[in-house]
């Protein structure tokens, strides 16, 4: 008799299963448009030149050791991360009411924030506070908040499949109807998976309702710099909300914009009303960190910190980020052009209107199955593709495959 005799086999995480299936496929023209990591035009992973440079500096620095970081993380990393999100001239930072927690990737930042909210927000240990995530959203958002103890996780209207854009009316309506103090997870830019962001005017409307109805702002910022190629542009929404006086959380990831996926570099920026509230909040976050991972890993934080805090390296990094963003923008332009040239039924403007790594193609599950089985083009069942998987070598094949999927496999009724 085993204690674990009753443990059921859990289903695999979809995006990793997709990559596993792709790996096993022997077809010469196979393409992986699944997992969200940048690829060069040769379809290779890209270690940023600035990262290579800084890593060498770190390895060669005999004065560095492997001692524990403080529980909340590397101090230089923490201050630099807040600055990157809120801007150099941030009044909130000057007022001493901004702090944060170094975390394991964006996931870790979300988890620490979620755990804190469950314990200390809207009462003490109030697991009933509603948490709203966009429909659709990154699939792990649900699990993060659920495992943090929240019992009531709800979707808010976001993606309008019919018009292939933002369902603003639905979103605003959900904001108006949400119970006061509900938590809303907002994507700062380059919405995952749809690539569809609110315009500045739309953000202002969202902000007005959230302020009026006392809703909590929890930004997920995984693509700063990666979306438009410009750090400040991509942080506009975050900075607007801060300037509007919100106390908020920002879960930042440096996985994509630094290409540091496997070093787990993230940060939870906390903006509080004043430094006194901030310090009590951070003291409680320390306790959460202590029982989760004790203190964070140093390698990735050192790389990011060195880069952000040195003007030359910072400039080089920004240019590396722009390289990535520009290639994605180019692929978007070319994919749309090719689909239009093929005369593929439907409108394809959304491909260039959407932003960031992902595109919600609008392909339905049957068409996706066709793409995978017949064309060996791997994408998520939702129709999400990673634009980084497109290259000048494979874009014709991909465009043709989409064309075939749309013309040969019927559209579902929406």
């Amino acid at each position: 008799m085993s204690v674990f005799g009753d443990v059921p086999l859990a289903p695999p995480v979809a995006v990793f299963k997709l990559s596993a299936d792709f790996r096993e496929d022997g077809h010469p023209q196979k393409v992986n448009l699944g997992v969200g990591a940048y690829r060069t035009d040769d379809c290779q992973p890209w270690v940023l030149p600035v990262v290579k440079k800084v890593e060498r500096l770190i390895v060669e620095d005999a004065g560095l050791n492997h001692e524990y970081l403080p529980i909340l993380g590397l101090p230089e990393f923490r201050s630099a991360s807040s600055k990157v999100a809120l801007g150099d001239g941030s009044a909130a930072i000057k007022d001493g009411r901004v702090g944060g927690v170094q975390a394991l990737g964006g996931t870790g930042a979300l988890r620490i924030g979620a755990e804190f909210l469950r314990r200390w927000y809207n009462g003490v240990n109030n697991t009933a506070t509603p948490v709203y995530v966009s429909a659709p959203t990154w699939e792990n958002h649900n699990s993060v908040f659920a495992d943090a103890g929240f019992k009531d996780i709800r979707p808010y209207h976001y993606w309008d499949a019919a018009k292939r854009g933002l369902d603003l009316a639905g979103l605003l309506d959900d904001l108006e109807k949400a119970p006061e103090h509900s938590v809303f997870v907002l994507h700062a830019c380059a919405h995952n998976p749809t690539g569809t962001d609110p315009t500045r005017e739309e953000w202002k409307q969202i902000s007005e309702i959230m302020k009026r109805r006392s809703l909590f702002v929890f930004f997920d910022s995984a693509y700063q710099g990666f979306a438009s190629g410009d750090l400040d542009k991509d942080a506009w929404a975050i900075r607007y909300f801060v300037s509007e006086g919100f106390e908020l959380f920002i879960a930042q990831s440096f996985s994509k914009n630094f290409g540091l996926y496997n070093e787990r570099v993230g940060y939870l920026t906390v903006v509080a009303r004043d430094s006194e509230n901030l310090s009590r909040t951070l003291s409680q976050m320390e306790k959460i960190v202590r029982t989760t991972w004790s203190n964070p890993p140093s390698q990735g934080a050192r790389i990011v910190s060195k880069t952000l805090n040195c003007p030359e390296l910072f400039a080089e990094w920004k240019s590396n980020v722009k390289t990535m963003a520009d290639r994605v923008l180019l692929m978007r332009d070319q994919l749309k052009a090719k689909l239009q040239a093929l005369g593929t039924p439907g409108t394809w403007d959304h491909i260039t209107q959407q932003i960031g790594m992902f595109s919600f193609t609008g392909l339905n599950p049957k068409q996706v199955e066709y793409m995978i089985a017949e064309k060996h083009v791997y994408l998520m069942a939702s129709g999400r593709i990673n634009m980084c998987g497109l290259t000048t070598s494979n874009i014709d094949y991909i465009a043709q495959s989409i064309h075939d999927a749309v013309t040969k496999v019927p559209q579902c009724r929406s």
Partner: protein
């Protein structure tokens, strides 16, 4: 907002161990000693980066590897050699592939994953039995995961040694299917380990009570200097048929503290069960941090899988353990020289980084105030903070407050 969301958030109490270091930093006495630190220091009181680590880092840098996400369960090379290190290369468990070992965020991350797994899947009582005392962080880890804590007698303050009878007595009363936590070697904070004969009796009793064993092994190699010797209890229990849970840390034995390298193992009945358990561990891990950091695991795997580096590592671990043992001997010699009439044998008998001196809180306070020797209130000192230069001063201070 006019009022803050966080108005009701209480100030968290300062961490008892970190607080020691904070106070130490503020002290201007040139003779001050920090014996709270749970990290190895060389004989000059400096952090020690192992040569095998530096060499491994050079090898890794030369390979120009990418930075793609690791699988949720971590670096495969690492998990394999991590399990092998603990269980032994000839382990029947490894041969039958009936373990699942995942890379974790050092020992804390490993314990937390284990605790979360128990909370979700263990059909037995919610109680986890810790030795009294245990590492301070064990309690909040299990509690935050949703388990409850109980204790079994372990440390005997009258002998500064193992309360074997008390332990057996308490263990015999633990309800069936409860979880019992055992420190594999170099018990933290006491440095008191059961002898092999005692481990055998504990194993029999635990089997009789049908308890689920969770081993915490944070000091393999660091205790005796010999990795196989330090893993003896773990391997014995497995041979005796216990399907254990095991947490490993490479923070101390490879000096990789800040890189957060650890492993969590569940020994299952068979491969099929291991696959089911693995799938559920992934479901637990993904919403915490998605997948673990590469750097430290890559270093550890390189060391363990490169024969030259592995030999070098074994030498360096042996060296670190020996320095600690020497400091224990010198401390006792120093106390004798000072004229202390107390029995300090426990300082030599205890093993690993920590020593439960037996000092009372008032004595600890005096030692800190009058001699600037910083340690935790329970009388625990980290031998790693003792050097040949300051051991005499320490002996002098301890004698002064205990004579």
């Amino acid at each position: 907002p006019l009022i803050s969301w966080w108005g009701g958030v209480q100030m968290g109490p300062p961490d008892p161990i970190l607080g020691v270091t904070e106070a130490f930093k503020r002290d201007t006495n040139p003779k001050k000693m920090n014996l709270g630190v749970g990290a190895y220091r060389d004989d000059h009181g400096k952090p020690f980066v192992l040569s095998c680590v530096r060499k491994a880092e050079e090898l890794i840098t030369a390979k120009h590897m990418d930075k793609e996400y690791l699988p949720i369960g971590g670096l495969g090379d690492f998990s394999k050699c991590c399990a092998q290190l603990a269980l032994g290369a000839d382990s029947e468990v490894l041969k039958s592939s009936r373990n699942i070992t995942v890379q974790t965020i050092s020992g804390t991350g490993s314990l937390r994953i284990g605790a979360n797994f128990l909370a979700r899947f263990h059909g037995g009582p919610r109680d986890v039995y810790l030795p009294k005392p245990s590492w301070g962080n064990h309690t909040p880890i299990f509690r935050d995961a949703g388990m409850q804590l109980k204790a079994y007698r372990y440390y005997d303050p009258s002998t500064c040694g193992f309360d074997f009878k008390g332990a057996l007595d308490d263990i015999s009363k633990i309800p069936e299917q409860s979880v019992i936590m055992l420190h594999a070697c170099a018990h933290n904070p006491t440095g008191v380990d059961p002898k092999p004969e005692q481990w055998k009796e504990i194993s029999d009793l635990v089997k009789k009570r049908n308890l689920l064993v969770f081993f915490d092994m944070a000091y393999q190699g660091f205790a005796s200097g010999d990795i196989d010797r330090d893993a003896w209890a773990v391997r014995y229990f497995i041979e005796q048929g216990h399907n254990i849970l095991l947490s490993q840390s490479f923070a101390k034995n490879m000096g990789l503290y800040g890189e957060r390298v650890g492993g969590f193992t569940v020994v299952c009945n068979d491969t099929e069960e291991a696959k089911r358990v693995e799938s559920q561990l992934k479901i637990l891990i993904r919403p915490i941090y998605s997948n673990p950091p590469m750097n430290g695991a890559r270093i550890a795997a390189t060391i363990l899988n490169t024969p030259d580096l592995r030999s070098l590592w074994l030498e360096e671990v042996h060296f670190m353990a020996n320095r600690i043992i020497k400091m224990r001997e010198q401390l006792v010699a120093g106390l004798k020289k000072e004229g202390s009439s107390h029995n300090w044998q426990h300082v030599i008998d205890q093993i690993g980084m920590f020593c439960f001196t037996g000092l009372k809180p008032e004595q600890v306070e005096r030692l800190t105030k009058e001699f600037s020797v910083y340690m935790t209130k329970d009388g625990r000192i980290s031998m790693a903070g003792v050097t040949s230069a300051n051991v005499g001063y320490l002996a002098h201070g301890i004698h002064a407050v205990t004579k």
